[in-house]
Subunit: 315 residues, 6 copies
Amino acid sequence: MLLWGFCLHSSISDVAKKIKRLEIQGARNVAIAAIKSVEATTTESKAKTKQELLVELSEAKEVLFASRSTEPLMRNGVRCVVQAVESSDETDVKNLAKVVSSVSEEFLERLEQSKAKIASIGSKRISQNSRVLTHCHSSTVMNMLKQAKADEKIFEVVCTESRPVFQGRITAKEMLDSKIKTTMIVDSAVRHFVNQVDFVVVGADAITSEGNVVNKIGTSMIALAAKEARTPFYVATELLKFDPVTVFGSYERIEERGTEEVWSSPPHGLIIRNPAFDVTRRDFIHGIICEEGIIPPHSISELISRKYPWILEST
Amino acid sequence: MLLWGFCLHSSISDVAKKIKRLEIQGARNVAIAAIKSVEATTTESKAKTKQELLVELSEAKEVLFASRSTEPLMRNGVRCVVQAVESSDETDVKNLAKVVSSVSEEFLERLEQSKAKIASIGSKRISQNSRVLTHCHSSTVMNMLKQAKADEKIFEVVCTESRPVFQGRITAKEMLDSKIKTTMIVDSAVRHFVNQVDFVVVGADAITSEGNVVNKIGTSMIALAAKEARTPFYVATELLKFDPVTVFGSYERIEERGTEEVWSSPPHGLIIRNPAFDVTRRDFIHGIICEEGIIPPHSISELISRKYPWILEST
Amino acid sequence: MLLWGFCLHSSISDVAKKIKRLEIQGARNVAIAAIKSVEATTTESKAKTKQELLVELSEAKEVLFASRSTEPLMRNGVRCVVQAVESSDETDVKNLAKVVSSVSEEFLERLEQSKAKIASIGSKRISQNSRVLTHCHSSTVMNMLKQAKADEKIFEVVCTESRPVFQGRITAKEMLDSKIKTTMIVDSAVRHFVNQVDFVVVGADAITSEGNVVNKIGTSMIALAAKEARTPFYVATELLKFDPVTVFGSYERIEERGTEEVWSSPPHGLIIRNPAFDVTRRDFIHGIICEEGIIPPHSISELISRKYPWILEST
Amino acid sequence: MLLWGFCLHSSISDVAKKIKRLEIQGARNVAIAAIKSVEATTTESKAKTKQELLVELSEAKEVLFASRSTEPLMRNGVRCVVQAVESSDETDVKNLAKVVSSVSEEFLERLEQSKAKIASIGSKRISQNSRVLTHCHSSTVMNMLKQAKADEKIFEVVCTESRPVFQGRITAKEMLDSKIKTTMIVDSAVRHFVNQVDFVVVGADAITSEGNVVNKIGTSMIALAAKEARTPFYVATELLKFDPVTVFGSYERIEERGTEEVWSSPPHGLIIRNPAFDVTRRDFIHGIICEEGIIPPHSISELISRKYPWILEST
Amino acid sequence: MLLWGFCLHSSISDVAKKIKRLEIQGARNVAIAAIKSVEATTTESKAKTKQELLVELSEAKEVLFASRSTEPLMRNGVRCVVQAVESSDETDVKNLAKVVSSVSEEFLERLEQSKAKIASIGSKRISQNSRVLTHCHSSTVMNMLKQAKADEKIFEVVCTESRPVFQGRITAKEMLDSKIKTTMIVDSAVRHFVNQVDFVVVGADAITSEGNVVNKIGTSMIALAAKEARTPFYVATELLKFDPVTVFGSYERIEERGTEEVWSSPPHGLIIRNPAFDVTRRDFIHGIICEEGIIPPHSISELISRKYPWILEST
Amino acid sequence: MLLWGFCLHSSISDVAKKIKRLEIQGARNVAIAAIKSVEATTTESKAKTKQELLVELSEAKEVLFASRSTEPLMRNGVRCVVQAVESSDETDVKNLAKVVSSVSEEFLERLEQSKAKIASIGSKRISQNSRVLTHCHSSTVMNMLKQAKADEKIFEVVCTESRPVFQGRITAKEMLDSKIKTTMIVDSAVRHFVNQVDFVVVGADAITSEGNVVNKIGTSMIALAAKEARTPFYVATELLKFDPVTVFGSYERIEERGTEEVWSSPPHGLIIRNPAFDVTRRDFIHGIICEEGIIPPHSISELISRKYPWILEST
């Protein structure tokens, strides 16, 4: 349990609260805000020794980790920064702050590059005159589809409305703004239309060590319907959404959100279950489109251990 | 094409309009209203010969059939009545009206009996301490679950919200009113929960000659998820929802409803597809719970030809 | 609840006890004994009126039905006889006894004929130089395989040991006595060998209205392994094992037998579950080999209603 | 074994030879020729008694049945005629000849009507702007597709070449002659294209009691690929191709044809296997399009026993 | 072929005999005994040169490898030790003996650590109030379930009896001794109960380069039934059970044991087949729980080549 | 677009033309010819600086790459050589030519060694008295089967004819020449025979980053039929057929060949589609038999990045 240290920088708790209240949302935005707050904490730290700084960072980490349950990208970002301090030869706090700045910057830049690479790789998978189905709203997927449009691919998008919060409406608007022909359907109509679709692509909130993908509730049903119709199903995501706790046995936690999202005035006695995500097993996924290329989800653990070994070292 | 005869009884066109506008809805209610309007038409008919009466009935039939596309129960009811007139030895219009009254009554009574039989049969399938999932709102299913409650079965119900029109809310209220423990989930969460469910039961809007069932959009995805988890999937329905046009090659028409049901103020240019139903193939259905007992859907054509041969004779 | 009438013929309760204690076993033997006891009861009845006789028969029926839970053949036999009395125009008890005798004889003869027909039909399905796998010990299957041998088919048999009671040993002996090359394996080795098998055939204890087959525990796993390897799976059985209560919603009851069959001296606190049967769904069954030929299990209800309508009329 | 009677009418052996040598081919043509030869035999018979006539007919039947192994339609036709003589009250040979004529005519006419009904029913299944795949050359399927064209359906056909005898080329020509856009592929390319196809329809050489369909080699692979892609697979066929010997245990015999069809000058020692047909199991078939409508193959036995009971009575 | 050298240390042949006679059993125990005997051999060796020592070790290896066919863990242990000698720069036999001692110790310690890691990782996968099914008796699985109990997980165990040698009884006792609620079923009842189970976990005797797992006969049937019911299936095992010969084409050999295990007094002429293991393909396995975490079996070869490259270098 | 430089060595364009016209064919032969032509170009180059040489090589590469679309082995070979020049420290053109020679030689030698290793590994998978099915003509597979014969394996081969170009005939002759019992079937008969086959092995034209295999049209249907019958399906191929462009999003291009291969004199208006290859997804492949052993296709990307990292660096 965390005992709040008086030294906790205000920006950490602020950011954590905003994440909790969904004022900051989207895996990427959450990660950016968290890393920046850690950077600020360090820069403005009054710690006198490396040891003191590490205590501060450890508290910051705990607070941020507690803000929302399914955020491996943010956690990996924070882990990355804290580890850099731990393993640094520097002892001077000022210099350590510079280390943090530089590592943070590098991490954020890498995120930016991954996004661009995924867009460029994924765009090649969009065939001319094809129909692409997506679910919910993923900025990685949006980016990739816009890239395809920029690459002069002619295609159209089918999007689900994505109950309970209707993120599909954001998707629809964003696609239409990019001049992409777009059709919306209710979530449960996917199987009715999936034979007329050439390609399914969704984003991810987390990837597990087994190669499974955690994404918006309903994703696994779409994957199932796609498989039944032999329609390719892809996940576009940064590898940094890999969650190392799943390597060591923990299940990825599925956040269960407020019932009012489903029904604001339900009858007395009604139980409402509102899990935000579900798990799509690796066998339903043709490929993960990530910054390292298109890979079978089955090789995710090996890829992580080759590319980001530090993720596995510090859970 | 129909040329409107001046002799068309006002109640026919009234009823047809109400059906079209969903003022009358639910397969059973639609059928009852239509049959009663035909009965009224006949009783008050000014036709002087059987021939004239048949012309009137034929127009009534056409108007009612055109009111909504996926209503085989109503159509079978109207067919049943019109056929009785055609095949009657009577020639006197007054007597033919009596034939119509008696056939109509018999048809409606049979509907009532079927409902009770299905409830009694289906109730036996609800195991003690089990969890039953249903989709949309089917009066036949509601009746069956209430019967199970009356038979002192202890069970709980999981219901989907059933976008776009949220009929699941009616289901939830009706179950809670019957003191049945009820949980609601969004449509796309079915696969997430289906392994914790012991039994799925849904209603039907139409049954085809291949043994497939047409029901609320999303039904076939639930059936797919249930099959993947080896969870039994049943359909509770009157046999009279069998649609004879499917025997002779026509597809069951899937009504496509207004886009505002999905999104009342969509962005400019967005296409919205809103099919009201989808098709669940026979291979996903453990059994059809009907007035003749629990049957494999594969034997539906033979059963219809044995029990209701007149359905096949007059399309 | 049954109030034991003093008029209950001793042979009824004797037979019921023997069935309960497995002194009489095998669906066919149980049915024969039960019918003969009913016949004896009637012949020696002291009833003075048809009404009195029917009371006796009703009690006999109840006692026999209670003797073991999964015995539709016996129940159908008893139903057949009692119904004959009910629907007879005779009123004289002596004459009714003759009706019972003649109906009983006819029923038993039909059983005998079914056995021969099944053997003759099934034998044709055994290809030259093939390997046939069977489970447990079914006299119908034994008969069929012996017929194939008599028809000069060259084939060999693989049989499971059929835990917990090792009925596979009886099968092995009977096959070897008939000079059929026989291999025994443990039950769990079926998947290891099923690709080397050309044909699976088992018996049945009950057939349900959905076309499912209830048979010795383990049958459904064999069916699953056979399907995975595309090895044909057949059930050889008399149609009279159809259980009409399943039409009207009841599940076929699965007898759960004594734990000592599994482990005679288990450690304290161990729970042992010992269901005698499991359910093999119709989709795993290529065909039911019955007295009417080889049929898809999906058409069982229609076939029963065409051939043995009385089964459906008196549950 | 047949001892050739001197009384065997020359036309019977002529026709049998032509069938054997494929000078007469196509299930329908073979059946017509055989029935006409039986009719001729009877008309010109010198038999003096019904008994003598039946001997002649029995020999004719045996010779015709031996001409080719997979011809249930022809066999059912001959059975139908011979049975009519057997069950006729007539004793006069002249009159019996008239019975034969009238039954033959009726049979042939029924065949003609079935063809038209199947075309009309099947045509309704062809959706506008769809793509239909077929295999080999089936006159029933050709007829159905031409009907769809006549019904102003806009669609295109994909046909396989159908090795080893390239019947797909006949199909291609016939479709092009009917102004239907047509694409040909090699047999093994079906899976590559099946996701772009909306509907598969093939003919049948025989239907078995289990509801399986025997058709040109390769049909079952197409069915498998169609199922994997959730593409509907239909069989268009007259019910009279039902083979009653399969009810009683016999397998439908699969003719194995000459090796030169596969390779006219194979290297020494090469074994060539050339089965003309394969078996498509009922579970791959959405529906059988027959003269009675579209039915699940699972109900075929019941339908035959309801519509053509004589087929089952005289094997 | 081995020419028995007179220099073979007695402990090697003793241990080999005990392994052969099952006096030493369980993959772990066999490995420990073999490694210790190799260590003793070296310590007491009279070899004067490294060369002579390697000849002794090579003979020891051959004798131990021949003792039982499916023992990759033991073989990898012996390989590890022999390789250390081969690649050592030491030439002095005494010093080489020290190398052997230290490598042996390290290997055994690593085994011990793996066991603890697997228990800790696997325990996290046991959900509260869940039901876990296991097969046969695996010390790795036992350890993991006891750890879950120690971690205050509330769960119950279902175990099969595991014919023919009833190792399930050892499992049952061990679980009951650990105060875990336990139910036993016969092997063939798994499919009957698998829908009521939340998690399946078994051990392994060998892992192949394809990612398949060799384990007690019946494991693959359980995996099949689990997959059909969408019940997760895990394998808990040390990576050192990876068998390198499978990389280079050899099949993992399946030991076939004595017939008396199945039936001590079988009738004359009965063939009994008694394979000790079967193969569960990677596609049935959700994850391998090993000392490196939970991994998809598909990445096993890469993981081995990363963690234990020496395994691949010395087959 | 390439502007033909006057410096392009004649042998490059010659070889490219021959590849285009299929005068050189077979992935291995194409690769050998291309590499040798690059080597010759370099040896005889008149370039004066490394820079000039690289321009020449770049043009050579472009011309060769354009010669045929599905040739990753050739492309990887050329890439390997060009990269060696790029990364060499040498600046002298003569010395660079020596680098090219040595790298070329090494590459070709490695190819030769791979072939031998695959043969040796694959041979061990051929069980005694088994039946092996192959498709088309792969020199890698031929080599492996001949090795099995040399290893005294007794087995027989079933080969398809492999329309449209009948490469199966080459396979048949080669197998018969090696005294291996061989049976030929038409492509569409695979499912009819696959249950009688113990093992399927085919070659590959390309491997994608997802682990899918591109091979002769029809391969994926065989894989599908093999899976349905639980018959193991293997691919024997050099890893160097891995196509790195698939990592970065491009689809492997499927060459579409001339229509005359299918029908030399088609009727006017007939469209003929003649793709040379299809894609077999990783889930159908038990293992890839390559120079590194037998691996799950799912780990291909990791294996390539470990063994041939340069492949990924220079697309």
